[in-house]
Structures are given as structure tokens and as C-alpha cells.
């Protein structure tokens, strides 16, 4: 008599055979969300970087308190802007994504590009620039500008002195009829480009500790990722553009969006959206999640696998009280594939 468990072994073998047989390979690969770590807090190396940037108060005796501060973030906060974004140029440049972007830029612009023009003026954007911050009151650039040819760049080697280490230079009206550019230097490490002298004074006062402390736009603890910042709801709606319906819904529900983008290898973006009305925020999260799912299914149905792949990398986490989180993860391979068209060469992709 045969052992009964032979039937079970036969069943197991047959099930495996059935699974193998009915699994007919499809033309398109399965979409799997990559396991990319999301920027949620300061990494150890970022904490070290943040601590190294903190500057002790000025010796002039007019500083408001004794606490250390980050001049770049203080300068960004000076105008009282509701939105601001900081790009860690140095960190990004030294990442694989940065390499890809530079290759792309070089392939598109050729050798006579803007980077080389700046290098001729004594500033190598890839080596001397540390961070670039943008607010509605201007652009703040931090780095090492000791070798900068200010006369070539701004038309004057020195400007009007202001405060302990400030120099303000007005660069004449632009040829295209634009407003006057006011360049403000603080020592050899900070450059602010704005539209008015009032902005310049505010930046220097804030950095040197004069007058009331500005409301911080970003704290040093928020300086993680290769790009980070804060956007107000209306500013985000304006930035993203798109349909009027989405823009007004976004501006209505979101009062603030905090962005952090990690681009050390893979690209991971976290956008924490906060709002005053929890119900509206919940609806916004559900709408975004639904729109992503629909767009993904639509892209699949219409055979647009590229769009479906990109959409599958985005996820909306449900709102918890007064905030929700949008996460986008793009593996380096996908970014490289997307940038292949502008890098040229054998893997140009088109």
C-alpha cells in the first residue's frame, strides 16, 4: 500500500508546475515601489554639517542673544518671507545625481556655458558655492568667495559698507528694463541678490544680530536633504501651476508645505503638508491619492508604461491630524534613464 502522503507530494509538485505554466511572461516588467529611505530627520553627517555651520554671535556687542546661528538660514528669514527653498549645491554636486545633471548640462550647453563664465570671475559654482537659497525677497548664496572677482561680477570691487562685515553694491538697471539688482556681501561667505536696499539692510541686520530677531523660516534642525524648504499653500499652488481647481484646493487646504529631497543616490522627496482645517487636509490627501491611483491606472490602460512607472513611485500617506505626507521615490537607475536623452552617447535613449 502506498503511503498517503505521496498524494500531498504529488499535489505540491503539480501546484508548482501549474504556477510555472500559467505564469506567461508579460512584455512589461512588474512595477515595484523601490525601497528608498525617505529624508525624515538629520542624518549623522548632516548633523555634523549643520553644527559646523553654526556661527557664534558677533563680537560687536549688539547681538540679540548668545545663541549660535546659521547665517545662511538667518539671511533667508530676514525678509519675513513665507516660502523659501535651499539647495545644497556642494552636496548635490558630489552625488551621482549631481554627476548626471552636470553631464546633462555640459552636453546641452557645451563648453561656453554659464558655469565657465562664473569660473572666469573667480567663483567656481561647483567648488566654491555651498548652498543657494531662494525666497521672494531674493537669492542667498553661501560659500567661499575669497577668490571672487567682484569687479568683474558686480562692476565694483567694493560697495557701500554696512554693519560689521557688509558691503552693498547696486548693479544698474538691467538692459531688459528690469529693476536694479542689489548685491549684498557679508564677508567672503555670503552673497544676497535682491531688488532693494531695504532688503539688503534687513539681511545684514539679521545676520549681524541687530534689531528684532526675524521669525525663522527654517531652523538648522530642518536642514536635512540636498534640497529643503518651506512653501506656503498659495506659493505652492502658484509654483505647480496646473488646473485652477487643484490650485485653489491646494491653497485652501494647505497652509504650509515642508519639503526635503534626498539625492545622495536615489532621489527621495518628502513633502509634509500641514493645514489648519484637518477635514480639508484629509480630503486633499484622499484626492491626491485617488488622482495618483487613477492616473497610474489610466497610464497602464493606455499603454504609457513610462508614466505609469513614474506614478508608481509616488505615495500619499494619510493625514494624521493636521498634516499629511507625500512621498516620491525615484531610483538612480530611473533618473539616469530619464536624463539619458540629454546626456548623449550610446545610452541616449532616443
Amino acid at each position: 500500500m502506498r503511503p498517503r502522503w505521496l498524494w500531498l507530494i504529488a499535489a505540491a509538485i503539480l501546484v508548482i508546475a501549474a504556477a510555472w505554466l500559467v505564469h506567461i511572461p508579460e512584455a512589461r516588467p512588474p512595477v515595484t515601489r523601490p525601497e528608498v529611505p525617505m529624508p525624515r530627520t538629520l542624518r549623522p553627517e548632516e548633523r555634523q554639517r549643520m553644527l559646523a555651520r553654526l556661527t557664534p554671535p558677533s563680537d560687536a556687542g549688539v547681538r540679540r542673544g548668545a545663541e549660535v546661528y546659521d547665517p545662511m538660514l538667518t539671511a533667508l528669514s530676514a525678509g519675513g518671507a513665507g516660502s523659501g527653498v535651499v539647495l545644497e549645491v556642494n552636496a548635490l554636486r558630489n552625488s551621482p545625481i549631481g554627476e548626471l545633471l552636470l553631464e546633462c548640462l555640459a552636453a546641452r550647453e557645451g563648453r561656453g556655458n554659464a558655469l565657465q563664465a562664473l569660473q572666469q570671475m573667480g567663483i567656481d559654482p561647483l567648488r566654491d558655492v555651498d548652498r543657494v537659497g531662494i525666497t521672494e525677497h531674493g537669492v542667498v548664496v553661501s560659500g567661499d568667495f575669497r577668490r571672487a572677482n567682484w569687479e568683474g561680477l558686480l562692476g565694483s570691487a567694493t560697495g557701500t559698507a554696512y554693519g560689521d562685515h557688509g558691503q552693498i553694491t547696486s548693479v544698474g538697471p538691467r538692459s531688459d528694463g528690469g529693476t536694479t539688482l542689489v548685491a549684498t556681501r557679508w564677508g567672503d561667505s555670503l552673497l544676497h541678490l535682491g531688488d532693494s536696499e531695504e532688503d539688503a539692510h534687513r539681511v545684514l541686520d539679521a545676520v549681524e544680530g541687530r534689531g528684532p530677531a526675524p521669525r525663522p523660516l527654517l531652523s538648522p534642525e530642518q536642514s536635512y536633504g540636498e534640497l529643503y524648504g518651506v512653501l506656503s499653500g498659495p506659493d505652492l499652488a502658484r509654483t505647480l501651476g496646473g488646473s485652477e481647481l487643484w490650485a485653489s484646493a491646494l491653497a485652501d487646504a494647505a497652509s504650509k508645505v515642508e519639503l526635503h529631497l534626498d539625492a545622495r543616490r536615489d532621489v527621495a522627496l518628502v513633502a509634509d503638508v500641514s493645514g489648519d482645517d484637518a477635514r480639508k487636509l484629509e480630503d486633499l490627501g484622499k484626492s491626491l491619492g485617488g488622482a495618483l491611483a487613477m492616473a497610474r491606472a489610466q497610464a497602464r490602460a493606455s499603454g504609457d508604461d513610462d508614466a505609469a512607472e513614474l506614478l508608481s513611485f509616488a505615495r500619499v500617506s494619510p493625514s494624521h491630524g493636521s498634516s499629511l505626507s507625500l512621498e516620491v521615490a525615484l531610483p538612480l537607475e530611473v533618473v539616469a534613464k530619464r536624463l539619458a536623452f540629454c546626456r548623449g552617447g550610446a545610452d541616449a535613449g532616443r
Binding site: 510555472w20 505554466l21 508608481s312
Partner: protein, 277 residues
């Protein structure tokens, strides 16, 4: 051979219970419904005009076999899905009847092995399903062929595919019955397998829409094994309408479905061998 004897016995029982008559009447009614609702005179008229005038009367007219392709495709889908639904409902009580007190003891007292009893029941139901599907498709081919002069055997082949698909479903029904002798549960198991088979057809798309977790894992495991019935139906439709098929794909589907049915039968036999009656 004993299994075939059991299968024949089941067919005799089905005939005695007027199953064949009911099945034949239902299929004939379905064919008549299809025939009366189709405007076949368009094809017939075009053929007559061609014969009468020596050339097509309408220059945009299609060849009759091309014009009939959608009809054969629809018919094969009706045979496939209609056959599955009819089979699940009408065959649900065969196995519970086999295991009913008194009868099972009598059968086990005969010189029949237990596995032969189960395999014979499975084969009997499979022959019943294949007979119904082949009858329906052959009837359609004969009716359309006699009206249009277009004769094709592919709809009959596609009906055999439908019977093979039902075999996979019925094996599951039989396995469930060996555990719990209930016609309702057997029908529910069959219906569930049809639904899972449909989901397995769109497995990749559905997995793309699911977030990582235990639900996705269970779904992935389940739909990896159950034959994709929608793909079988598509293949049957393509066969019936003489549409192109991916080379090798159909053979793998058929073999996979047979392996799935055999696996469930093996589980059923394993359980049946352990049961006391």
C-alpha cells in the same frame, strides 16, 4: 479502467436524473435565442447578391467568414462563461451525492480503489461539461454554416478549452466536498474559483494597485496558482474567430490548468483516503 467505469456510471446517473435533457434544452434554447437575435440575412443577402449579380452588390462588404468572426467570438464567450456558471450550479451536488450515507459504503464495498472513485467522478463531470460545450458550439457551427456556407471547426475546439477550464474549477469543488459534504459549499467553492480565476487574469495590473502587505502577498500567491480564466476565455474567443494567438501561450495555459486540476484532485484523494465512512 475502473475510473472510466465510474465516469460512465456517473453519466448514466446524470441521464437518469434528466441532467442531459435539462442541459440539452438549456443549450438549445440559448442557441435559438442567439439565432433569432442575429441579423443573419445581411450575410445571406450579400452572398445571394454575389451569386445573382456575379459580383458584390456593395463594395464595402466583408467576406462572410470575416463578418462572422464577432459572432463566433461572442458565442465562444457565452459557451465559456455560461458553461462555467451552468457547470458550477448543475454539478455541485454530484460529489455530495457520491458521499451520501449508504451510497458511499456501498461503493467502497465494491472492488474500486478510493482514488479511482474520485477520478472517475471527476472524469464523468468533465465529459458532461465537454459534451455540453461541444454540443452548443457544434450546433452554432452547423446553423451558421448551413445559412452562410462558412464552415469552421475552431468554435468546437474553443468549446473544448471551456471544458478544460471547468475541469480546473470542478477539481476545486470536488476537493471541498471531500472535506465538507455540502452542495452549497461546493457551488460556492466553484464560484470563488471562477472569481479568483478572473482576478488572476488581471493579476499584474491589480498587484500594481496594491500596497505592500499581507493582503498583497496572499493575493499574489493565490493568483499565481489559479489558472487565469479570462485569458483562457480570450484564447477560446480568438480560436473561435480565427484570430491570431501567441505561440506557446495557449499550450502552457492548457497544461497549467490541467496541472492545477490534478493538484486539487491529489489533495482530494489524500483526504478521501484518510476518511472513515
Amino acid at each position: 479502467m475502473t475510473s472510466f467505469a465510474v465516469a460512465l456510471d456517473l453519466l448514466r446517473e446524470a441521464a437518469a436524473r434528466r441532467w442531459f435533457l435539462a442541459l440539452g434544452l438549456a443549450l438549445t434554447g440559448l442557441l435559438l435565442l442567439l439565432l433569432t437575435s442575429l441579423r443573419l440575412e445581411v450575410v445571406d443577402g450579400a452572398l445571394a447578391a454575389s451569386r445573382l449579380f456575379g459580383q458584390p452588390l456593395w463594395h464595402d462588404i466583408q467576406a462572410a467568414d470575416v463578418a462572422l468572426r464577432p459572432v463566433y467570438r461572442v458565442a465562444s464567450q457565452i459557451v465559456f462563461w455560461g458553461g462555467l456558471a451552468f457547470g458550477v450550479l448543475s454539478c455541485a451536488d454530484f460529489a455530495p451525492a457520491l458521499l451520501s450515507p449508504g451510497r458511499i459504503e456501498h461503493l467502497l464495498s465494491l472492488p474500486v480503489r478510493r482514488w479511482e472513485l474520485l477520478v472517475g467522478t471527476f472524469l464523468g463531470v468533465l465529459v458532461l461539461a465537454a459534451g455540453g460545450a461541444v454540443y452548443a458550439s457544434t450546433g452554432l457551427v452547423v446553423v451558421l454554416g448551413s445559412k452562410t456556407g462558412v464552415w469552421t471547426g475552431w468554435p468546437v475546439v474553443s468549446a473544448v478549452l471551456a471544458a478544460i477550464a471547468f475541469g480546473g474549477v470542478y477539481a476545486g469543488m470536488l476537493a471541498v466536498t471531500v472535506w465538507v459534504r455540502s452542495a452549497a459549499l461546493s457551488a460556492a467553492a466553484g464560484a470563488s474559483l471562477v472569481v479568483v480565476g478572473l482576478l488572476a487574469t488581471h493579476r499584474r495590473t491589480l498587484l500594481d494597485l496594491m500596497g505592500a502587505g499581507i493582503g498583497r502577498t496572499v493575493f499574489a500567491a493565490l493568483t499565481a496558482v489559479v489558472p487565469p480564466l479570462g485569458r483562457m476565455a480570450d484564447a477560446a474567443g480568438a480560436l473561435a474567430s480565427s484570430a491570431p494567438l501567441a505561440p506557446g501561450g495557449l499550450l502552457r495555459l492548457i497544461l497549467g490548468t490541467l496541472a492545477f486540476a490534478a493538484a486539487l484532485l491529489a489533495v482530494a484523494v489524500w483526504r478521501f483516503e484518510r476518511r472513515d465512512f
